[in-house]
Symmetry: C2
Subunit: 354 residues, 2 copies
């Protein structure tokens, strides 16, 4: 009989079914185990009676596969896109039959995830240093970078959004549909890759429409609500200091808008919330006096006043893609060098539409 109340082992199953553990193992692992129908039935019966599940550790030890992948996250910034990200990764893991380990990166000590407990890991943004990534490479430990480009010289599969295209299309929308010409841009944090690509998209869209790039319209929003608010207040202040008229009432009752800009691309949706607050405080109506757009389609985007026009990228998709690339890397030894995910324009009221 099975010992005590602990979990049954393959040995218990073998004894109760009257066969060797080899046979049990085969039934467990092979699609068409070479056993008589009768024996097979008996074994399956015992397995389900005992509720037997093979110990992962023992299995790993003999196959040297952990059947687990890891998702490594940075310490902070887990918020808005985290649920869909995890949902995507989890779905991928399940689909390919892997367990999923999660860890957030701490300053001290080695990563909680690595060759000792997983077959490979998805590294999200800057959750691992260049040096650590490089160390994994020499060990040939599979990993895929999500929202992060590989360190120089290293050829590591990575997945990213079409930040540039997404930005280009939302700026195009402002220019072509709403006739904007002075579009402010709030940069993300220094060194942030998403921000760098968005800036390229911003410049490309301007250039394609023959609009000169104006450095005075580009400031730091840091993808942060209150930084963005301050940045816009400064833009307005600078403009006033130059003696500009801003909103000039005309004799016919209409208004001549000579404001600091006719649109603000906030860099991301968090910043956009700050931008909206700053504009409202300054007495600007959005979108009547000035348009505002974001990026990400974060949860608060639809609750903004007015609801925010923005760019959406499917985060689920990103997680799933990264995971399936990782699995390919683990099982076949190679995968695509990178995946670039499409984005989609989400039109709401803050740009002037609707």
């Amino acid at each position: 009989m099975p010992k005590k109340t602990g979990s049954p082992t393959i040995r218990d199953v073998a004894r109760l079914a009257g066969v060797s553990i080899t046979t049990i193992s085969r039934v467990l692992n092979e699609p068409n185990p070479p056993v008589s129908a009768e024996t097979l039935a008996r074994i399956q019966q015992v397995i389900s009676e005992l509720n037997f599940v093979p110990q992962s550790a023992a299995r790993s030890l003999s196959t040297s596969r952990k059947n687990a992948i890891g998702l490594l996250l940075p310490r902070i910034g887990w918020d808005a896109y985290f649920p869909p990200l995890l949902r995507g990764v989890e779905a991928g893991a399940v689909e390919f039959g892997f367990d999923l380990l999660i860890a957030s990166r701490r300053a001290e000590g080695p990563s909680a995830l690595g060759p000792h407990n997983t077959d490979g890991v998805v590294v999200f943004t800057d959750s691992l240093s260049d040096a650590e990534i490089a160390a994994w490479q020499v060990r040939k430990f599979p990993c895929v970078l999500l929202h992060r480009t590989p360190p120089d010289g290293l050829n590591i599969p990575h997945v990213q959004y079409e930040n540039r295209d997404g930005t280009r299309s939302i700026i195009n929308h402002l220019i072509e549909v709403h006739g904007c010409r002075r579009i402010a841009f709030l940069r993300g944090p220094l060194g942030n890759e998403d921000s760098a690509w968005r800036e390229l998209g911003y410049r490309a869209a301007l250039e394609a429409h023959g609009i000169a790039y104006d450095p005075a319209l580009v400031v730091d929003g840091n993808f942060d609500e209150s930084d963005a608010r301050l940045a816009v207040e400064k833009l307005i202040g600078n403009h006033a200091a130059r003696g500009a008229a801003d909103l000039l009432p005309l004799s016919d009752g209409s208004v001549l808008n000579t404001d600091f800009a006719d649109a603000v691309f906030a860099g991301d949706d968090d910043s956009a919330v700050g931008v909206l607050a700053a504009l409202q405080n300054a007495g600007r109506r959005v979108p009547e006096d000035i348009a505002v757009v974001g990026f990400d389609d974060a949860p608060q985007a639809r609750f903004c006043i007015p609801p925010l026009t923005t760019v959406r990228a499917s985060i689920d998709e990103a997680g799933k893609t990264a995971t399936s690339m990782l699995v390919e890397l683990i099982t076949r030894g190679e995968t695509a060098p990178m995946a670039l995910l499409p984005t989609e324009l989400v039109i709401r009221r803050s740009c002037g539409c609707i």
Copy 2:
């Protein structure tokens, strides 16, 4: 030399350090390994040079401890409180030196998490059936229930919020500060435990103030935005059908409010969004004509129009508490039978304050 480019084993370390693997193991596991200072230094040197980390699988197999805990989630509903929940659980896992496995529960097959790959799991809400929980109990597999009470007759540690107290305090606020007397309540889904406790809190607060419970004011909102919206529309419709006056302008310019209610407790914040929409459509001003309050302090609460007065419970705390209880259960064999977490009133504009 270490084989190929794979990971080094304890054997590699022993060879390079010129000692037995027993000694290496001791250095790895004992706080004060009985080795000469000189040997110790040499060993640590080799370990860091090789970047050696013991294989979790091998370690588990010999100790029969996985050094991992699991977090089991239901298939859906990962959204708003998910990041803080995971943050809490992850923090707990790290603190006690456990790896963290995550899985969402699927209909088919056994749970991806169990005795075969973890030392215990935190079961979130209804991610596991009563029968499966019971099966784990007979195996003495440690688990802690989060936001879920144990199946009948089973004595399983669980952690929950003070839903009743939290509700009582927000209803008290409506009554005592804002003089509300006719407070509608939108129930959560049938069978939902949080909802049941909130209803008890609602009734207790009314009773404490000598206000009769009026079944006509209690309807189903299902913790869902559009269900809640419909429910409120129906409340308004029923009221009108009875020929009530609603908002009656008086000769002195003020308004006599004979509306269906003077406040709505939406059950949760998702519902509150639907309630606000229904009231606005029906021409009611919040909070001037009617107060609205929610529960959870979900992210959208501060973005609502007007910002939502609600009840907050620290989800981080819940995750952390559940995790430390689980660890205690794993290491000491027992822990507290349950933990009841406090809530906090979050006052914003929708109740009439500010």
